[in-house]
């Protein structure tokens, strides 16, 4: 009988080791490293709040410029892409769930498939589409726009590719939630004389509020980690106007020169704090307003 007292370690022990080595230690060390001068190889030297002071207040420092430019661009990406990645799949899901629409699964599959394509493969195709000489876009519309090197087109290419590849999951969630809404609610709304838009706002939306909260929070947290699309579509240009914070962090820590991992860690901690605060705020606001 004594043996069974410890057998739970056989079940949870291996994962705890993995968790400690690959999540707990790196997280703690990431925060610690942000207070140090570290080149990723030798042991870090403690510098207190110096990294944060440089990033946040030293206007002459390139780190200061990189952080605020990267944060600004990341926030632009989050602010534009998240509403698109919620609203567009919601409209598509509503159309698919229209009572009389057939081929529901076919439509769903077509929209979902780009989500299975890796960012780099998708970016190769989209870069060609937006290529100023060879691309479909300019050929088709008879234009000569240099899409990825002129604003606001550079951002547009990033958003188009992001929406194309990123809405499938949310669409499936909305579709399932909408189909679970009780028909009685729609019927009684109809008796009250509600049109389709009125029904959508006062029946559908409140009924799917939990999946909505879930998708908004998850999509936002994911969007803050944006990296691949700007890297491959615009390489951060023109003039660093699409360089997001993850790109600076990666360059500082793993770029070609000497690694500046301490400074990069401080930027990562600041980004992490913004993600946590915004996720918590979203959850709080949406949960309260819909209760």
């Amino acid at each position: 009988m004594d043996k069974s007292k410890f057998s739970h370690w056989f079940f949870i022990g291996p994962h705890i080791i993995l968790f400690v080595v690959f999540i707990l230690i790196p997280s703690i060390y990431g925060v610690y490293a942000s207070f140090t001068n570290w080149n990723l190889m030798t042991s870090p030297t403690w510098v207190g709040l110096d990294n944060y002071r440089t990033i946040l207040t030293n206007q002459d420092s390139s780190f200061h410029h990189e952080f605020f430019n990267g944060m600004k661009n990341t926030l632009i990406f989050v602010g534009v892409s998240v509403p698109l990645m919620v609203a567009i799949p919601l409209v598509i899901a509503s159309a698919i769930e229209h009572k009389k629409v057939k081929f529901k699964n076919f439509f769903q599959s077509i929209i979902y498939i780009p989500g299975l394509i890796s960012i780099s493969a998708a970016a190769l195709i989209w870069s060609l589409i937006f290529n100023s000489q060879l691309g479909m876009m300019n050929n088709f519309f008879g234009a000569d726009t240099v899409w990825t090197a002129t604003q606001p087109y550079a951002w547009m290419t990033i958003f188009i590719m992001t929406v194309w590849g990123g809405i499938g999951g949310n669409m499936i969630i909305y579709r399932a939630s909408i189909s679970n809404v009780s028909q009685d609610l729609y019927e009684s709304a109809e008796i009250d004389g509600a049109g389709p838009i009125r029904k959508f706002i006062s029946v559908t939306l409140p009924s799917i509020r939990f999946p909505l909260i879930y998708t908004v929070v998850m999509t936002t947290a994911g969007a803050f980690n944006v990296f691949g699309q700007p890297l491959m579509m615009t390489d951060g240009g023109p003039r660093e106007s699409t360089t997001v914070l993850m790109m600076y962090i990666r360059d500082l820590a793993f770029g070609s020169g000497q690694s500046i991992a301490g400074m990069a860690s401080a930027m990562a901690v600041l980004l992490g704090m913004v993600i946590l605060i915004i996720s918590a705020a979203q959850y709080y606001v949406m949960n309260r307003n819909s209760a």
Partner: protein
């Protein structure tokens, strides 16, 4: 009444067909361009179908095994994703069992503590994680992508939730009959939680196949990298769209494995996404 539904039905169709066209045109364009010659791409402008279909692009892609070994990259990705997926299924099933069926002091406190820590944004741990993987000697090896992801809590949470729906009476009565935890786990629980394991496995496969940031950081050896990181190099190798067919062909080859997986496992995908979001499908 019926007439109103018909108008909105046609609007819905019109909308969906337009969206679907926009969605498939890039894929068709990429696919057909991979069969075009460079001179046709440059001179003929936009056409959905090539004037003459050629396979030369694919021949030259497959011949380039030094700077852009695409088949090797796909092989690396397959090895990484399949191994990772199998290990995920093992880890989440035994760990999920531990946190839902084993009785020990502080079990739920421990579980929710780990879950809480795992919400810590992973931008913060990515730099030290590189150092740890480096110390383990895993940089430029498949293990850099296979092992760290096994520590995640999301799928274990799913399995634990799912096990709550499996009647406890089944294992209680087996326990009365003298069955050990191992017997109960393998004989009774494992077959019952297969659906949630498929879900976890599927997402782990797609997640690891499409992972981009981490492989870009952790692989510098061209022969060792997975296909996502490899494709990043192609814009330089196939010189700034001087070899468009090769670029598109490589992208198409990289897409095929997950597309096949989707075609065969489509119904699991839908239930997987909904299970993740806590919706009954």
């Amino acid at each position: 009444m019926n007439k109103k539904y018909n108008v909105s039905k046609y609007l819905a169709y019109l909308f969906l067909i337009t969206v679907c066209l926009i969605w498939v045109v890039p894929m068709i364009f990429g696919f057909t361009t991979s069969f075009r010659s460079q001179s046709e791409v440059v001179n003929e402008g936009f056409r959905l179908l090539p004037i003459s279909w050629i396979v030369d692009n694919y021949m030259s892609i497959l011949e380039n095994t030094s700077s852009a070994p695409i088949l090797r990259w796909i092989g690396n990705s397959l090895f990484i994703s399949i191994t990772h997926t199998l290990l995920v299924v093992v880890v989440i099933s035994i760990t999920g069992y531990g946190y839902s069926r084993m009785r020990f002091k502080g079990r739920d406190v421990l579980f929710f503590t780990l879950l809480g820590i795992s919400f810590f944004p992973n931008v913060v741990n990515i730099i030290p994680l590189y150092r740890i993987v480096d110390i383990l000697g895993w940089v430029n090896t498949p293990w850099a992508m296979i092992v760290p992801g096994l520590a995640g809590m999301g799928n274990i949470f799913l399995v634990r939730q799912f096990m709550k729906g499996v009647p406890k009476e089944l294992d209680e009565s087996a326990r009365v009959d003298g069955a050990s935890d191992f017997t109960i786990f393998f004989r009774i629980v494992l077959p019952l939680i297969k659906p949630v394991l498929i879900v976890g496995g599927l997402f782990s496969f797609i997640g690891s196949w499409n992972d981009f940031l981490w492989p870009v950081i952790v692989y510098t050896d061209v022969q060792k990298m997975p296909v996502t990181a490899g494709l990043l190099l192609l814009q330089d190798i196939y010189g700034n769209y001087q070899m468009v067919g090769q670029l598109m062909g490589s992208a198409i080859l990289a897409i095929i494995p997950t597309l096949l997986l989707f075609l065969f496992a489509q119904k699991y995908f839908v239930s997987a996404i909904n299970l993740n979001a806590g919706i009954k499908g």
